[in-house]
Each structure stands twice: as structure tokens, then as C-alpha cells.
């Protein structure tokens, strides 16, 4: 089966899994060939598309939604464990 994720805006550095993606599986996203999930990505969760350094913005919908609290690799699951929210 094909595991898909959707990138909403061109400037986004994350995509959203539309099925649960098991660890080690290839992820089909237009213009992001060869992406492999480094961890399991649950349905509706974010997967990193490019290297994101600690302190850099996580961008979805073309807007900053939070910042990376550690270095993030392409294929990483991105959620509350590796991000910070500025108040």
C-alpha cells in the first residue's frame, strides 16, 4: 500500500499524513520524492520534509505554527515532543 501525506502551502516544511504511516515506509508526496518515515506517523500528524534546525519555524498553511526544540530531519514525526510554542 502507498502511504500518503499532503503538503498544503508551497512554503510548508511539513506535510500531514492522511493514513497512519509505519516507521521505515516510503511516503508519497508530490515534489518530495524519496521521503521515508523515521518514526510511525499517526493519521493527521506532521512529517518533516526538510532539515529544520533547533529554533527554526515549523510552517504549515504557509504560517509559523511553532518552533523546533531540537534539530529535525526529513521524515521525522513533528509534534509536542520536538517543538515549542511561543506565548
Amino acid at each position: 500500500m502507498e502511504y500518503k501525506a499532503i503538503k498544503i502551502s508551497p512554503s510548508d516544511n511539513v506535510a500531514i499524513a492522511v493514513t497512519s504511516i509505519p516507521k521505515g515506509k516510503n511516503v508519497a508526496i508530490p515534489d518530495n520524492e524519496g521521503l521515508v518515515a523515521n518514526q510511525e506517523i499517526p493519521l493527521g500528524h506532521k512529517i518533516g520534509l526538510v532539515p529544520i534546525t533547533k529554533g527554526a519555524s515549523i510552517i504549515r498553511y504557509g504560517e509559523v505554527i511553532c518552533t523546533a526544540s531540537e534539530d529535525i530531519k526529513p521524515g521525522d514525526w513533528i509534534h509536542v515532543h520536538n517543538t515549542e510554542v511561543q506565548e
Binding site: 499532503i6 492522511v18 493527521g44 498553511y61 505554527i65 511553532c66
Partner: protein, 393 residues
Amino acid sequence: MNFYGYQRENGTYGVRNHVAIMSSVICINGVVEEIARQVPGVLPLTHTHGCNSTREITLRTLSGIGRNPNFAAVLVIGLGCEGYGAPEVAEAVASSGKPVEYLVVQKAGGTYKTARKGVEIARKMLSHAQQEKRVKAGLEHLTLGLECGGSDAFSGITANPAVGATADMLIAEGGTAIISEITEMVGTAHLLKRRAANPAVSKKIETYVKLGTEASKWEARRSSSRAIAPGNIEGGLTSIIEKSLGCIMKGGTTTITDCVPYAMKPHTKGLVIMETGGYDIESMAGMAAGGAQVVVFTTGRGTPAGLAGVPVIKVVSNSTTYKNMEGDLDVNAGTIIDGGKTIQEVGKEIFELMVKVANGEPTKSEKNRQNQFAIRQEGFNYPTLKDIAEKGL
């Protein structure tokens, strides 16, 4: 681009041609229903507000609904002792130039006599309305209400961005779109303000988002500033901004030309924010009172909800719900996930359906006679700015 609507006396265009029989107060809903039973074809508009409700919001909503161009004529039924009366509603509706009459049950001699007179008036209004024909109108005469309810993890990926594309297309044609539910805009003031047409609108956006933040705390009885609900985190949302962005995607990408209070008609075209809460029917009624002739409603889990007198186009976020509730849902945006379609393509599909619906094609909610109507219960489940100031919410 054009649609074919019913031209009203004040130059607006209805996409439907209903005769409304409207309650001014809950106490006489039975009279309204009796008239509707005796005159098939008219649309009864009853609600639950009485003397316990805020006079201003009820009067404003009923007046706005009555002026909505989807109604050819309006008969208002009142009791007589209520704080806001049928004469006041009728007078406000009459300013639009359309035929309007009112009856007061305490003056007309009770249920039976009022219904008898009402039936006579309703029949005349209906036969007059039936003679009206659709004429060509530009899309600058169309106002689209944007709503979401029963959202799921796919709503922010498929249905809401697709509806945003539809809103952009309508606005490019000179039309108007209203985005509501300020309780879903928490944390996005800085983003929305960048899109404000001028500093006055920017200031209003800040006030509305603040009100929405307080209202969402009130609704949820919890702090909504940092933590989002555990269910949202489980669904993959990391921050409140991410959640809110998923909702405001429905408004597309254009300039925000104004912000208006609940049930007020915007004076600008383009994208407008209306201050409503997150209760679907109340929110849709507010937008209809502000002149929306069509509503587009996104859902993930599925809802049959409709609005009396206003066609509601239901856009579902995923194919599973679409297959499960196909009889209630108009567009399947799940095709962005499993049908090889893009957000833009589904946005176009919704836009094209919207024009067909404006031309008279019934939506699923209309076919199912889902004719709901409700007015915001202000002060009960929604704080006013005054509440917030006084109670320090």
C-alpha cells in the same frame, strides 16, 4: 460571471423566493405553524427566544433575516406584550422595500382568528411571489456564508482549504464571503491583522479575536491560551494557532475588508469577519441575517444541518463519511486524499456547484427539508464584551 436570482426592491438578488411566516416571540410559534400547515409552500420561521432574551440581538436577527433577499415577502406574528414586537420587526424588514405585514395575537383575538387572517395574507403573498421570475445578476451580488461543524483531522487538510479556494474565486468575481466563528480564531490575530484593509479593520480584528478567545474559554470552561484539548493533540495538532489556521482556511487568502457584529450586514464586499460563536445554526442564522444567500458548510464527521430559507452546501473532508452520509453531503473533498484531486480543483467544484445552487438547484439539506433556525443565546452560552469587562473574564 453571473447567476440568475430574484431581484428585490432594494437592488439585492435572492437565490430563493420564499414567503416567510416569522415568530417575533416563542409564545406564538403554534400560530405560525398553523398558518404554514394551511398554506403549503410558505416557510415557517420559529425560534426559542422570548422575553428572557436580549431584545437587541433578537430584533436585529429577525430584521436581518426578513431583509435577506431569499425571502420574497414576510408575515411577522407577534404576541403583543413581548419586549420586542412584531411591528418593530415588520418596520425594519419594510425598509428593504419588500412586502411585509404583521399580526399581533393579543389584538387579533387569539390563535384561531390570527391564523385565519394570517392564512389569507400568506396566500396573497405566495401567489404574488410565484409570479416573480429569475433574472441575470453578477456574482458581485452574491454573499457566501462560511461555516464548519463536526470537524475531524481531515477538515484542515481537505475541506477547509478547498472552501478557502472557493471564497477566493467568488471574491475575485467581486462577491462577498463571510467567515464567522471567532471562537475558532484563537491565536491568529497577528496573522489576520496582516490582511486587514486598513488600521480600523486591524483594530477590530484584534478586539474580535480577543472576544473569541474569552468566549471559547467560556464555552469550554477551560483555559484555551496555551493548551489545546487533549483530543486535538491526539489528532496531530501541536498548537492552538495550527488548530485555528485549519478553521480560518475557509476564508481563503484575500484582504479582510471589515468585521461586523453578529447578524449585521457588511457594507464592504470581499472577505468579512462576523462575530459569531461556534454553534452552527446560530452562526449560520447570523450570516443569513447579514445578507448571505448561500452557505458553504464543511464537516468531517457529517451533519445533516441546514438553515431555513438559505441553501447550505455541505462539503465533507473524507470519503468514509461521504459514503456513510451521502444523502446529506454535497461535495466530497476527501478526493484530495484518495481521488487524485488538488485543493484548487475541489475549490472550483464547490464554486461551480455554488453557482448552480444560486440558480435554483436544491442542496441536500434543502431536499431533506433541514430548515433549522436559531438566534444566538447571548449571555447564556456566549459572553458579551460588557460581560467580559464587568466580570473580568
